[in-house]
């Protein structure tokens, strides 16, 4: 409901007949407990000249309202996914950093002190003795809860990625999909990138070094974490990451423009990688 449309009134209430944007807002934000004979009411209210005119205006308003609502819904979803995967990485990094501090500190207090997030989890369960120990154990508890939050975020990313980008998520896995979307600045931007750019997404530092003439051109960015690049023999990796980037780009385009799941895309990638791996030497 917006402040102009009283609940229970028709979508055209207090909308000027020529104002499509206002009409679209009325469609999106209005509400009513019960339907009424809106075509007749709109004509009586002077909003439309007759039934045909009313339906023409309704058509224009519903098309505008629904197009805007779709765009908003989709924009929202891929942005949320990008935030979630970044937050997941932040939690991971911070948990590890604090776990190191905990290990160093605990090492001065306890004989059986260990290292890492797992040790922090164990320490978090113990009863501190005195104010110093209380501080260390409390810090260990923060580490444990950050690690829990990272796990929750990962679960969320895993669920959302296949909603936002079903084909990309099937091919790249949910977490890598989310990272690609985050690096590209959205699913729409990813879908518009040439596959050569997707191939080196996340390797911007190496790419700029190369452009300054200080390094060879990077063969892969974040897609290196994909099993199809990592577990392919080094001399075939260039071909594998080119092939993977090509298919991921197609998947992102299908996800952005149609949203329909196309399992045959995964099969094509599987076949392509199998043939690269069975071949000796790079192209």
């Amino acid at each position: 409901m917006n402040d102009r449309t009283p609940s229970g009134a028709g979508w055209f209430e207090s909308v000027d007949p020529g104002n499509v944007e206002g009409a679209a807002t009325g469609i999106r934000d209005g509400s009513a407990a019960a339907p009424r004979d809106w075509p007749v009411q709109a004509v009586e209210a002077g909003f439309a000249d007759g039934e045909d005119d009313y339906y023409d205006r309704l058509r224009e308003a519903t098309l505008a309202a629904t197009a805007a609502a779709v765009e908003e819904a989709e924009r929202a979803d891929d942005r949320q996914l990008a935030h979630a995967v970044r937050a997941m990485d932040d939690c991971e990094r911070t948990a590890n950093e604090l776990a190191e501090r905990v290990a160093e500190w605990a090492g001065t207090l306890f004989d059986d002190a260990g290292t890492g997030v797992e040790y922090a989890r164990t320490l978090a369960e113990s009863d501190p003795d005195g104010p110093t120990e209380r501080r260390v154990v409390d810090l260990a508890r923060r580490v444990a809860s950050l690690a829990d939050e990272r796990d929750e975020l990962r679960t969320f990313v895993q669920q959302q990625a296949s909603v936002v980008a079903p084909n990309l998520a099937a091919m790249a896995g949910p977490v890598l999909s989310a990272r690609l979307i985050a690096l590209a600045g959205g699913l729409g931007s990813l879908a518009k990138m040439p596959s050569g750019t997707v191939q080196v997404l996340g390797a911007e530092d190496a790419l700029f070094a190369h452009l300054r003439g200080q390094a060879s051109s990077p063969k892969h960015g974040i897609i290196y974490t994909h099993e199809y690049v990592r577990n392919t023999a080094p001399d075939q990796r260039g071909s594998a990451s080119r092939a993977l980037a090509g298919k991921l780009t197609i998947a992102a385009r299908v996800d952005h423009y149609s949203g329909e799941r196309k399992p045959e895309l995964d099969d094509e990638l599987d076949d392509r990688i199998a043939s690269i791996r069975s071949r000796g030497g790079d192209e």
Partner: protein, 209 residues
């Protein structure tokens, strides 16, 4: 069985098939201005194909719940009058918008069919028919909630999907519970399984109590 004049049997690709007149939507074959209505891709198409009495006529005012990308509702809008298409998933609605742009009286709405108050300020009352294909849990409740849009002599034409209610239960027992819940608000006129076109779907034609 009666059929709207706008739904014809035509010989298309060598076989007699259902067809409506309108802009093609999903790559279906055409014969002049008629385009094939593929019963395998449409539960309402399968109901016509199986000879069910839907009560639909040319020019009817229709509320379509669960429009998805518009495959079936495009055929409905071809023969009906004002057709309101409700779908709550944003992705398929992108295609539904294209279908609606090609039709004069098809109104797309990105709304949740479980919340009729969010579109009762747009959809008119006294409708001739509700076509429901939401394939989600609580299909009987969706029908009951949307009863408010139907004229007293209007029709509910629903495709009930057993697996959407409960994948573990036997479809027949799922249908029994959905039907008994439906009977609180509707009087059942005809029910029929949609085999061979759609597995484990029950088609229901009903009128408000």
């Amino acid at each position: 069985m009666s059929r709207p004049d706008g739904v014809a049997r035509r010989t298309i690709d060598g076989a007699e098939r259902l067809a409506t007149r309108g802009a093609p939507v999903y790559g279906e074959p055409t014969d002049g201005e008629w385009r094939l209505w593929d019963a395998r891709r449409s539960k309402l198409g399968a109901m016509f194909e199986n000879g069910m009495e839907t009560g639909l006529s040319d020019g009817d005012a229709v509320l379509y719940l669960g429009a998805a990308s518009g495959t079936t509702v495009s055929h409905v809008a071809d023969f009906a009058g004002p057709t309101y298409a409700v779908e709550f998933a944003a992705r398929p609605v992108r295609d539904l918008l294209d279908v609606a742009r090609d039709r004069e009286r098809l109104f797309p709405l990105l709304k949740d069919a479980r919340k009729p108050e969010t579109y009762a300020h747009v959809v008119e009352n006294e409708l001739d028919a509700i076509v429901q294909d939401v394939a989600t849990r609580g299909q009987a409740r969706v029908a009951a909630e949307n009863r408010r849009f139907l004229a007293d002599d209007g029709r509910l034409i629903a495709a009930v999907k057993a697996r959407s209610e409960d994948v573990t239960r036997d479809p027949d027992s799922v249908f029994d519970s959905v039907l008994s819940e439906l009977e609180e608000t509707y009087e059942l006129l005809e029910t029929e399984r949609l085999e061979p076109f759609h597995d484990d779907h029950l088609a229901v034609v009903a009128r408000p109590r």
